[in-house]
């Protein structure tokens, strides 16, 4: 299976029913998987912090939710995460394509992307980095399990070694 098929299965394994997302070139394959899969209801948002709100509402309504976006978009969510999801103990599973690290060609992606794991730690959101597809499905599934069990958000950061390299770096 492809990395995106593995991840979609992991979201289903974790009981995710609602997926909120904003497009990203790397995330496109996974978004295609979930939008075309009737196990999931999907919500395209205008800005990523909306997605956190949508997922909090979904939880209060009885659904488990996941966020799909890029690391720069996750930076847009920090007030929503740190003043709603974390303090209200409302979980969601984040699957985020991580920029700013291996192979990055765009310096504008580096400050938030490279430091995203530490930024999440600082606001109390547990997270892990996946750099090998072999462990992807199990990692995303376990991340969802602990997020919904402990009622706190959890974010999985996907390196380009999983999602594929962006060609601009070698042009």
């Amino acid at each position: 299976m492809t990395w995106s098929e593995d991840t979609a299965e992991a979201l289903a394994d974790a009981g995710v029913e609602l997926v909120a997302y904003l497009p990203d070139s790397k995330m496109d394959a996974l978004i295609g998987e979930v939008v075309g899969d009737d196990r999931f209801e999907t919500v395209l948002v205008s800005r990523e912090e909306e997605a956190v709100g949508v997922l909090v509402g979904a939880w209060v309504g009885g659904n488990r939710g996941a966020l799909l976006c890029q690391s720069s978009g996750l930076a847009n969510t920090f007030n929503a995460i740190s003043s709603l999801s974390v303090p209200a103990r409302v979980p969601f599973l984040g699957v985020v394509t991580r920029r700013g690290n291996l192979g990055e060609f765009n310096i504008a992606q580096v400050p938030a992307g490279y430091n995203m794991d530490k930024l999440l730690d600082d606001v109390g959101v547990r997270n892990t980095v996946v750099s090998d597809q072999e462990n992807l499905r199990e990692t995303v599934s376990l991340a969802g399990e602990t997020a919904f069990s402990t009622q706190s958000p959890y974010v999985v950061l996907l390196e380009q070694t999983v999602t594929g390299r962006k060609s601009e770096a070698t042009k």
Partner: protein, 192 residues
Amino acid sequence: MTDGRANQYACTESVLDITPDAAVVSNLGVASYVLASVSDPKRARNFYQWGSMGVTTAVGLGLALSTDESVTVLDGDGSLLMSLGVLSTVARYDPDNLTVVIWANDVYGTTGGQSLQASHTDFAGIAENSGLNAVTVQDTEAFTGAYRDATESAGVTVIVCHVDPVDPDARPSFDFPYIARRARDSLTTETS
């Protein structure tokens, strides 16, 4: 208090009278303090926000997509101004069980009443041009009629309700996880 604006307390009471079983998602600060002022303290379906300015309407959308119950958002004009894109998102899904009320008091009421400096901005016009039904009301009676119509019609209606600024003493519980859990329990275990 006599410039022909609606009374936010009376309008919030109308919300609870017309839709007594609705989940009500209230913006941080004044919208939540007014809701706490007029609600039974035991009302489980008040999902008060304590932070995340600009995200309240998005919370209401996610909730409306995840329950068959009516959902009403009580947002503020300042909060909407920092997140206008959410109106386009709401219009994309347009759930029949969602109504969005914007308390338009022209000030940042929770931080001391500083002016929005946005009197040139037509929030209902923005909502309409984002693909939603929208109406502007200027008094409590008009609000009550508009709210009843909104809850009985298909799709989402945004009601922009011009109100005088208020400064309530009441507060919701400071126990934020309890607020969320109580609302969730009410919506997931007490209904069919």
